[in-house]
Each structure stands twice: as C-alpha cells, then as structure tokens.
Subunit: 228 residues, 2 copies
C-alpha cells in the first residue's frame, strides 16, 4: 500500500454519524477492500434500491466487478446508473452497560460512483485476473484461460475509487460515566468486546478429483487479511 | 422456526440468475437472517443508492432497524422510501478448474419493501429488545432500561418480511465436463471448496470493569448460528 492521496470528501462520502470513526487515508480504503471476499452492490432499479452481494477485485484505484451479461443490476450499472459498493468486516460485538451503547467493532468502506463497462480486451483480462486473484489467489495462472464463449457471457465493470469513505470502530464500549460501576460494586454489569473474525477451514476436495490429488500451496497457504 | 408460508415471488424478489439456488421457504429466510450480525441497508438518496451496514432484529415476520434520528438514510426510510435489506454469509471459496467457474458458497437473504417508523411505545420497546438480543443475547435484561433521552435519540423502523428472496450455494464447483481431468492425468488442477466461517474469540473485558469481574454466561456461552 503505497498511495497516500487522501480520500475525497464529497457531500455523500462525508461521514456524518460517528465522524470520529472516519478514516481518510487511501491506504485505509485499500486495506478494507483488500481484506474482503464480498461487497454489497447497490443500484436503483425501477425507482427502488437493490442490494446484492458480489465478489470484486482491485487494481490500483479501480474496483472491478463482474457477472452475467444477463444480470439486471449489472446491465443498469453498465449504462451509467449510479452505484454504491460497500465492504464491511465485523470485528467484534461491543457489550456495554446499557442497551443503548451496545455496538459493533467493524471496518467499512463505501464507494460511490458510476461504473463504466470494460470493453477493451486487455483491460478485461486485467480485470478478470484481479477478480479471480482477489477471490482465489494463484487461481488465475493455475487454471486455463477463459474461452471466447465465457468472455462473451461475462460483463465487466470498473468503478473508480474516487469518491469513498472508510469508517472503523475499535475498542471498548463508550458507556455513560454514570453507568460505569463504582469501585466496590459487588455486581457490575459486564462490558467489553467479544471478538468476531472470519476463518478458513480445511480444504474440501471436489469429489471428481483423482484420489490423492495434493492440495496446492495456493489453497493451503491462503490467509485472510487481518484487521489493520 | 414454525412458519411455513412460502416467500412471495414478486417480480423483484424472483431469483433469475442461478434460479436453482433459490430457496422459497420462510424458514430459510429466518435462518439466514437470524444467523447474521449485520445486514446492508440500501436506500435511494438524491437519486443515487446508498448502502450501509447496520444491525437488525427480527420478531416474527417483522424486521426491525434502528439508528440515530439524525441519520439521513433512516430519515428517508422513515417517510416511506423503498428500501432493500440484504444479509449475506460467505461459507466458502469455490476453487474450480477454470477461472470462470470459480465461485463462492453463501447464504443470502434480500428483503424489499417500504419501512414504517415505529412510534408506539410498546412496539418500540419490543423492537429495541429484538435488536439488542439479536446483537447480544441476554443483554436486554442484563442492562438498565433505555432512558427517555436515549429513546428520543433513537429512530426505530419496521420492515415487513413480505417480499423477500433467499439464495444459497453449497457444494463443489460446477466445472465443465471437458475441464475435469481424465483418470490418470498426472497433474490435475485442484478443485474444491475452502470453507469460510465466522468465529467468536475470547471476551476482552472493558478496562473500566473492576478487576476480576466474571464474564457472564450470556457472553461465554454465545454461539453463532451454523449454516442451515
């Protein structure tokens, strides 16, 4: 992570609620995006929002999305409808001394903009590589290249990481002073953080693999990015 | 989970891409919602979608959301703007023999509708209990009741679980037959599933707790719902 350009602060990308949790470094944005497996793409269809999970890839300051050429959300995004793409990591449940101050620790990146369809063959290849490698590092070179038919069935969109916000909550609950037990209180309400994390399990080979096929290092060595 | 009413199939809640992955039981919807910590709320603000993560609670066929009365998204939702609320669990990375067939195993619920502000005191209490208990089971009764000031600062919205879809992918990759190695192939491309799950860590007490305060069973005994 080398870029240090601060994130934009347009009206809609300005964090208003809990502004003290905003992070403004571009590296913060990259860290949240790079640590995720899926994001939630929002788009307006028929006047109503539609929010669907989808994989993604990042190359520099461009976020790539892809999907079936038949998907209504991607079709709308491809003709310039505004989109919002959000990646969230839950890092903990925050137990407070009041229900009101219960919270979550999390990292969240929200990207606003209009996507553009990627039609150039070279950029499409780069985008599909970024998408594949984000989901499954090492898989792009370990597998055969896409066929013409597969490429024709795949819509690829690019979203500039120009207008984005990052919000992060860490640490203990922010209880009211009056709720924090006085020293000597025999029965204080427990407060603290129950950490939440995402972990990988043991690889499950496809039943169609020849028995004894070794699991490659790209799978056994896979790690999820830890919190920043 | 007792209800068995099938989910609606309105135009926008009909799963089109990967229709074989659609689940139509109401119990499937409950299971996906109940297993999540955050959902992504989509709303249209100024003609553009905004997608933000938020906690939620469920009581029967009503989903409850809450937040600051000052939040622009909640304010828009409170006056009847259409919303979309999506909860996604990633259960695995699906490694295929081609980049094209790489995928994820997941469970996803998408709810469409217009929310209504909850203003009745009794329903507000029920909603806040559902929200608190969803985030932190046992915390509603373990903590003091909300104050009038806290209640006044909290917007509560209800979204009927009337128009919703559930999509689930499980199992190994769906590779093309031609990509599956013939018996005896000395170097088949590995394919299979790398499971992904969400786990809880060791509770971290608030630094302001009296030393030695025991961690209550509502925290130590907390479990996340497993995949259905």
């Amino acid at each position: 992570m080398t870029a240090v350009t601060p994130l934009s602060a347009t009206d809609r990308s300005t964090v208003r609620r809990g502004a003290e949790r905003a992070r403004t470094g571009r590296a913060d944005l990259y860290a949240v995006l790079d640590a995720g497996l899926v994001g939630h793409l929002g788009i307006v269809l028929g006047g109503a929002p539609v929010v669907l999970p989808t994989g993604y890839g990042r190359h520099g300051d461009t976020l790539y999305l892809h999907g079936s050429t038949g998907a209504a959300t991607l079709r709308a995004a491809a003709v310039g409808a505004p989109v919002c793409f959000t990646v969230t990591h839950v890092d903990g449940v925050v137990y407070a001394r009041s229900a009101f101050h219960h919270s979550m620790n999390y990292r969240c990146a929200v990207v606003h903009g209009a996507a553009r369809p990627v039609t150039d063959d070279a950029e499409r290849a780069l985008a599909l590589e970024a998408l594949t490698e984000h989901l499954a590092p090492g898989s792009w070179t370990a597998t055969r290249p896409p066929t013409r038919r597969e490429l024709a069935a795949t819509a690829v969109l690019a979203l500039d990481l120009a207008e984005a916000s990052v919000k992060v909550r860490t640490g203990p609950p922010g209880d009211d002073e009056a709720d924090v037990a006085a020293p000597g209180d025999p029965d204080p309400v427990w407060a603290g953080v129950l950490p939440v994390s995402t972990v990988l399990g043991r690889p499950q080979p496809c039943p169609l693999l020849p028995p004894g096929t070794p699991v490659p290092p790209r799978v056994t060595g896979r790690r999820l990015s830890p919190p920043a």
